[in-house]
Subunit: 117 residues, 4 copies
């Protein structure tokens, strides 16, 4: 069992012990995910692009960012469990599509065709 | 190397081949993550809570949901790579905090104290 | 001068007095808007669809919802000011498009073609 | 009747003619708002802060931005109608709070205490 599967087992137990399955339908979990992503976004709201790398390493801010990364990741895993989806398989499949959609020699160094849409 | 590490290596190569590191500062990646989470959210916008499980299994909708799950997951991994964070460690740490914050015998069956905030 | 124009004038003054124009480029304001929309979303995260109307009237929750409505509205107005856009004109134009895109006799009572996309 | 009230009356008619009130409970409208805010966010995803003003004026991009501004505004007004809230009153109330929370002489020129939270 790899580390992601182990975490998923722990999450399943965490939810079951609290009898929270009843609140965790996919619609509510998608809302959880989006609101947590909004909180992560808020950490970078006033940080200029060229200071965002450094800001991500500052003590207190880094702690908050890692906390939000944890929240977003947990929300994503909870949703995947609920809808019986394999997150890594979904990411692999999307990466494969993106390889075709954005050929390296066409999009190299360009952001005007938004990647990963 | 487990499956998540393998995927992260592939993502690193995907970005490098396209020379996209210049666009992928943490601020922009947090925006990518939030906008992809918004697209996932949109899939459940008009679905009532009690139909959300079934809707997540419907052919075309399921394909779109999995595609968005892939996008959100990729955005999260790209951000983690950029800020040198371990997503699984961040999730584990947050789960530990949530275990303390929401003791099973206190919150069981209750949603009024929002979980996983 | 109508009430919206009066409010916009007050907002302009509020920002100028704090010398915040430097942080309020359109990118940052779009992030502000999205993160505030995420906070509003969080208020409905665990509320079932059929209880959402009643929940919107409950004392403390209503106060939080109105506070987030205020935040979202302010963020939208700040963005409109910055990019020199008229929010009411933008809404009118979009409503006109939606009238054509979703003819009443075709979409009546149906949610499967997502409205207002 | 001012321009905002006129628009709200038109929106009410638009929804009624399509019999969409049944889908427009406050939870779903908060999701609509957040997903539209995510689409607006996407327009600025790869734009550096110092190019965001200019990018907001570029022909095609500006048209997309105005379209998303319209969507966000409409979603906010629909939510306000549904929960019987006055958006301008909510913004005014929040601005008053922000005036107290962020005294001009304390926060002038500083972004580190995130404004408008």
């Amino acid at each position: 069992m790899d580390q992601l599967q182990d975490l998923q087992a722990q999450l399943r137990q965490f939810v079951a012990e609290r009898d929270w399955q009843q609140f965790h339908d996919p619609k509510n979990l998608a809302m959880l995910l989006a609101s947590e992503a909004g909180e992560l976004l808020a950490e970078y709201r006033w940080v200029p692009n060229d200071q965002a790398d450094a800001a991500s390493q500052e003590g207190e801010r880094r702690a908050r960012i890692l906390s939000e990364v944890g929240d977003v990741g947990i929300a994503l895993l909870l949703l995947c469990q609920r809808i019986d989806a394999d997150p890594v398989a979904a990411m692999r499949a999307k990466l494969e599509i993106n390889r075709t959609r954005y050929p390296a020699d066409v999009v190299r160094g360009k952001s005007d065709r938004p990647p990963l849409k």
